[in-house]
């Protein structure tokens, strides 16, 4: 049911763990399946994500999606990172089963929450769309 890529990322996850003193943290969960993802980012002065790590309690797709998103985002600016959509994760993983699409959304949400947290901590302007997304994510994880 899973693609080779998914299994590969699941069995050899990249960038797992925590970052000490991260610049931003995103913590999200899906109440239906109970899966939880924590994402930590380190951002340099040019807004480039220089390090990113995750901790995931979840299914095979959730773990491989977290692993994939960290690889995709590392070295990108936060503006570029926010442009990543679930479909690019799914494509990079060579597909996900229908029931597992939400696992990739979890990864997108965790990333955008970590960037939100970073901007907030640094008292920076938060773009409208990010504020909106943040509100929806918070509402959905209650």
């Amino acid at each position: 049911m899973y693609s080779k890529k998914v299994i590969e990322y699941f069995n050899h996850p990249k960038n797992m763990g925590k970052i000490d003193c991260p610049d931003g943290v995103g913590k999200v969960g899906n109440i239906i399946c109970g899966d939880v993802m924590h994402l930590y980012i380190k951002v340099d002065k040019n807004d480039v994500i220089e390090d990113i790590k995750y901790e995931t309690f979840g299914c095979v797709a959730a773990i491989s999606s977290s692993s994939m998103i960290t690889e995709m985002v590392k070295g990108k600016t936060i503006v570029e990172a926010l442009k990543i959509e679930k479909n690019s994760i799914i494509d990079s993983l060579e597909g996900l089963p229908k029931a597992k699409i939400h696992c990739s959304v979890l990864a997108i949400d965790a990333l955008s929450e970590s960037i939100y947290d970073y901007l907030k901590k640094n008292k920076r302007d938060i773009p409208d769309f990010l504020e909106k997304r943040h509100k929806i994510i918070v509402k959905n994880s209650r």
């Binding site: 109440i31 399946c33 995750y54 901790e55 309690f57 979840g58 299914c59 029931a99």
Partner: protein
């Protein structure tokens, strides 16, 4: 790589002795039981013998055994067949909350066609309370259906007692015994059942053959109309080889199996892992054990174990593709996230102590690694 199969509740390998018994009925004795010539006569004779063996094993009469294609068919047949043959008597059916999907879906289907369904709850170990069944009975009740052994937890239901109540109230009683036949005693008289389902591929027999026991006098409508095979209750050219395989599989159960010992060994090994929990009742069938591990998900563990050549499952095999947590575990009161963390290990005829050692070693390693990834490391 080593391959270790610990998913006997999903399906079992065919016992080579069963296959050997079946072999003559494909190329050589291939006759159609309905034919008048010697080929047909031979097939009919073999089918009758198989029916007798099966009947003897469960304390029934040969003419009460209907061969079907699967437990799913038998369960559909039991529910729909009884419902439509007895709708003048009433339209109420009682089932348990932890039935297999084929009972659940048949009941739901009937629910959409004017029948009322009551789902009887279970306790935290997945056992139905007899009083709850009693209370659910109305004047309209025509059928009660409760499985003998639950496929995800291994919990054993008080079938004889429920059957007694059904009898006193003049209600037909059906039990899905797909997971109990061959594991614990199954006798239609002791269990007080009017209808009983069993399946070949759960008892080291072939896939594609099942039975429905229908007690003499029970009013039931056939699902399949046609040539009138199986006493007019299940038309289709008879699966003689399958019936022979089913019968042979039952004969082999006369030798006692040592699964109970292995269960203890497996259980204490797994529970030595911190943060592990047994979801199955201590009094369940020996072959089925359901565990949870804090901080990690069942599906993730299953896939990691598969990399080490070990086959186990999350919940029942049929629900492996669904996102929603198992209805069985939810019925025991588990939260969805706990239910998602569950792992079913089922052992059988060819499981060895060495298999279990290898499994536990791999389980230990993989749970540790997955906890590394998890934000909930502290157990």
């Amino acid at each position: 790589m080593k391959k270790i199969y610990l998913d006997y509740a999903a399906t079992t390998p065919v016992d080579p002795r069963v296959l050997e018994a079946m072999m003559p009925y494909f190329c050589d004795n291939f006759g159609n039981t309905m034919s008048l010539h010697s080929f047909g006569q031979k097939a009919q004779m073999v089918l009758d013998e198989s029916r007798k063996t099966v009947a003897n094993f469960i304390g029934a009469k040969p003419e009460e055994i209907i061969f079907t294609s699967s437990a799913t068919e038998s369960n559909n047949f039991a529910l729909k067949g009884i419902a439509f043959a007895n709708e003048k008597k009433g339209n109420h059916i009682i089932i348990s909350a932890i039935e297999h999907a084929c009972i659940m879906e048949s009941a739901k289907w009937l629910g959409g066609r004017g029948f009322k369904i009551t789902y009887v709850p279970v306790d935290r170990f997945g056992v139905v309370n007899v009083d709850d069944v009693s209370k659910a009975i109305t004047k309209e009740t025509i059928l009660i259906s409760v499985m003998h052994v639950n496929n995800e937890l291994g919990s054993i239901q008080p079938i004889a007692e429920i059957g007694q109540i059904a009898k006193e109230n003049n209600i037909y009683f059906h039990s899905d015994c797909a997971q109990s036949l061959g594991k614990i005693p199954v006798n239609v008289n002791d269990l007080n059942v009017d209808l009983l389902t069993a399946s070949g591929h759960k008892i080291y027999g072939p896939k594609g053959i099942g039975i429905l026991f229908v007690k003499r006098g029970v009013k039931i409508e056939p699902l399949l109309n046609g040539g009138g095979q199986e006493l007019g209750l299940r038309s289709s050219t008879s699966n003689v080889a399958g019936a022979v395989g089913f019968a042979k599989a039952l004969e082999l159960f006369n030798q006692e199996e040592k699964i109970a010992e292995l269960r203890e060994y497996l259980c204490s090994g797994v529970l030595s892992i911190p943060g592990s929990r047994l979801n199955s009742p201590k009094t369940g069938v020996p072959g089925i054990l359901n565990f949870s591990f804090s901080g990690v998900e069942g599906e993730a563990i299953t896939m990691r174990l598969d990399m080490d050549g070990i086959a186990v499952s999350t919940g029942s095999a049929c629900s492996s593709n669904k996102l929603t947590a198992s209805h069985v575990l939810l019925a025991t009161g588990m939260k969805p996230e706990e239910a998602h963390g569950s792992l079913r290990v089922s052992i059988g005829r060819w499981t060895t102590k060495e298999d279990i050692d290898y499994f536990i070693e791999s389980l230990f390693k993989n749970i540790n690694q997955l906890r590394e990834i998890s934000p909930f490391k502290n157990v």
